[in-house]
């Protein structure tokens, strides 16, 4: 089991709702229609296990419909205007974790989008998600 998955289970932080295949496909279509990128396959695989994670003052966003709107990837991305082909997949009080469809990279940026703190390649997706989520019990 991956370290991130272990932490999520240990902290009982995952939301209960599981996404349906149809929800994933419909969301991807809406994203593309709105100039947002396809969610990367490794992230979708993670969401199939944990469709949104709520950490301390932080979250990894999941596929709607979700009871917790704060973790709804569509809802959050509607409120914040990003560059084309970028999408927010996680947040804390300092930063957003973006997925950049052009560069095929994950990026940790300040909330005002003015500075990039770290970038992660696709195969570093677990490190990327760990960089945005905070737990009591580490």
């Amino acid at each position: 089991m991956r370290f991130l998955e272990k932490l999520v289970l240990q902290n009982k932080s995952a939301v209960a709702e599981k996404p349906l295949q149809a929800d994933v496909i419909a969301l991807q279509k809406e994203f593309v229609r709105h100039g947002l990128p396809f969610l990367p396959s490794e992230f979708i695989c993670f969401l199939k296990k944990f469709n949104g994670v709520k950490g301390i003052d932080s979250g990894i966003l999941g596929i709607p419909p979700l009871q917790n709107k704060m973790l709804d990837i569509w809802d959050v991305n509607q409120k914040i205007q990003l560059a084309k082909n970028q999408i927010i997949i996680g947040y804390d009080d300092f930063c957003f974790l973006l997925y950049d469809g052009n560069a095929e990279q994950y990026t940790l940026v300040t909330r005002d989008l003015s500075a990039t703190l770290e970038t992660f390649e696709k195969d570093e997706w677990e490190d990327a998600l760990l960089s945005i989520i905070h737990f009591d019990n580490v």
Binding site: F3, L4, L7, N11, K12, S13, D23, A26, L27, K29, E30, R33, H34, K54, I56, D57, P64, P65, Q67, N68, K69, M70, W74, D75, V76, Q78, K79, Q81, Y91, D92, D93, F94, C95, T110, R111, D112, L113, S114, A115, T116, L117, E118, F120, E124, E126, D127, L130, S131, H134, F135, D136, V138
Partner: protein, 474 residues
């Protein structure tokens, strides 16, 4: 999304980002919106109507007003102006104002330190972030270990950035011991950078070699929550009671805040207030003495606390009328907000102040995201990032807020306490300038390079440096 929209959008009530029409904006928010419309169209008594809404409705109304205030279409000029005025009035009542500040941005390294200091955790550093000096010198170990005090952190330019924070000062000895144990060369300290030190902290404090996150210090954020809940328990309770929240959740939340700094509903174990037949049976089964307790008696706080610390809190877990655990999704979760943005931490000469308790605010998650961060914007002047727009408090001591009414806020002057003043005094001794520190580090590295002879190790170092520089350029 188009007016017709997709089946997906209609099914999930997705919200149109750009508003074209007042009714369309509102209808996208929620099906029953009579009172939201009243706030939008009634210019005289809108505040009264606004106060009658519950928190979720208030937030929806706030989002609608904001959306309308930003609509630049000339045909909606009147509604745009009146919405902007209403938003301003709502903000003013709760001591908030949209401010535009000059940029005081920080370096990514300083950001990294502030985040670590706030949560008390450090992530594993990926190898390409580490400097070649650190990578190489880690391999060139001493034959015998040196005493910990031989590792002089005063010599380390990059560590001076860490030292600005109490949390990092407190772990210096642990790091010295780790370096001694690993038989590292003390000279390493002069040339290693911020990411290298983070790696050192991570490796010193990780529990297992496969871990990717480590806790190195009690989190500042949790300390703030615990102290706030202890000192303002009654006041917070009164505010929450007014919202018709289940009393059992209020008790359990306040307790979780006091004991562990927990503020998220999902992580709060909601316990019964009074003994029930089921709880007495569960206590008996767990072999916890309970003969003295009767159904209907209040559960004593020491028993709750003992079970919580022993991770047996579930024994007391509250149930609904059907005997099922309570659905916590309707209970408010709280988050800690930085009143002065971390990215604007350069506004303080002493950057550790960003994580001082008087810069923290405890606020429900939805108010945090949808109100307090709603105005965040970077403004550009003459082609450069020049100003930062944000909602800031006009009263410096606000430390807790529930909703968007003035009587749902609490003030506390953290700066009066002896511990605050002591920390401030100590921190002031360690203020450094990022640019000076980096210049010293660069100079040390040049000297290090010049002093090395051309042996095989140096070639390896040179190759590592070229790779590192190429990566940074990329």
């Amino acid at each position: 999304m188009s007016a017709k929209g997709s089946k997906y959008a209609r099914k999930h009530l997705l919200i149109e980002p750009k508003t074209k029409d007042v009714c369309e904006t509102i209808s996208n928010e929620e099906p029953d919106n009579g009172r939201i419309l009243e706030v939008v169209y009634d210019d005289l008594t809108f505040l009264k109507t606004f106060d009658m809404l519950d928190l979720n409705e208030q937030i929806k109304t706030y989002r609608v007003l904001k959306s309308l205030a930003e609509d630049k279409s000339p045909e909606y000029d009147h509604i745009q102006k009146s919405s902007a005025e209403k938003l301003q009035k709502i903000n003013e009542r709760i001591h908030l104002a949209v401010v535009e500040n000059l940029r005081y941005s920080l370096s990514p390294e300083e950001h990294h330190l502030i985040r670590m200091d706030c949560y008390g955790t450090v992530d594993a550093r990926r190898s390409h972030l580490l400097s070649p000096y650190y990578v190489k010198l880690q391999k060139l170990r001493l034959k015998e270990s040196l005493p910990a005090e031989k590792y002089i952190f005063d010599d380390a330019p990059a560590w001076q950035l860490f030292r600005q924070f109490k949390s990092f000062r407190q772990i210096e000895l642990r790091l010295q011991k780790y370096m001694s144990q690993m038989r590292f060369q003390p000279e390493m300290l002069k040339v290693i950078g911020v990411q290298d030190f983070s790696d050192l902290i991570f490796k010193t404090f990780r529990k297992n070699s496969k871990d990717k996150k480590a806790s190195f210090y009690p989190s500042n954020r949790a300390e703030f929550v615990m102290e706030l809940a202890t000192k303002k328990e009654n006041e917070i309770r009164k505010i929450l009671e007014k919202q018709n929240i289940d009393e059992r959740y209020i008790n359990s939340l306040l307790n979780a805040m006091k004991l562990f700094g927990i503020t998220d509903a999902n992580h709060v174990i909601v316990t019964e207030t009074y003994f029930t037949k089921r709880i007495l049976e569960r206590l008996k089964r767990a072999k916890i003495p309970c003969e003295q307790y009767r159904i209907g008696n209040k559960i004593p706080q020491p028993l709750i606390n003992t079970l919580m610390f022993e991770k047996k809190g579930e024994i007391l877990e509250a149930r609904d009328e059907n005997g099922k655990p309570l659905n916590k999704s309707g209970f408010p979760s709280f988050e800690v907000h930085h009143k002065i943005a971390v990215s604007e931490g350069g506004r303080f000469v002493q950057i550790s102040r960003v994580n001082y308790k008087n810069n923290y605010l405890l606020v429900p998650s939805n108010v945090h995201a949808d109100v307090l961060h709603s105005a965040d914007k970077l403004l550009v002047s003459n082609g450069k990032e020049a100003y930062y727009k944000r909602l800031e408090f006009t009263k410096p001591n606000i430390t807790f807020m529930y909703g968007l009414k003035p009587d749902e806020q609490l003030e506390m002057n953290w700066t009066n306490s002896v511990s605050y003043q002591q920390q401030e005094e100590q921190d002031q001794e360690y203020i450094v300038s990022y640019a000076e520190v980096m210049a010293r580090l660069e100079e040390n590295r040049k000297n290090f390079d010049n002093n090395r002879s051309g042996n095989a190790d140096d070639i390896e170092l040179l190759v590592a440096m070229i790779r590192y520089k190429n990566h940074k350029r990329k």
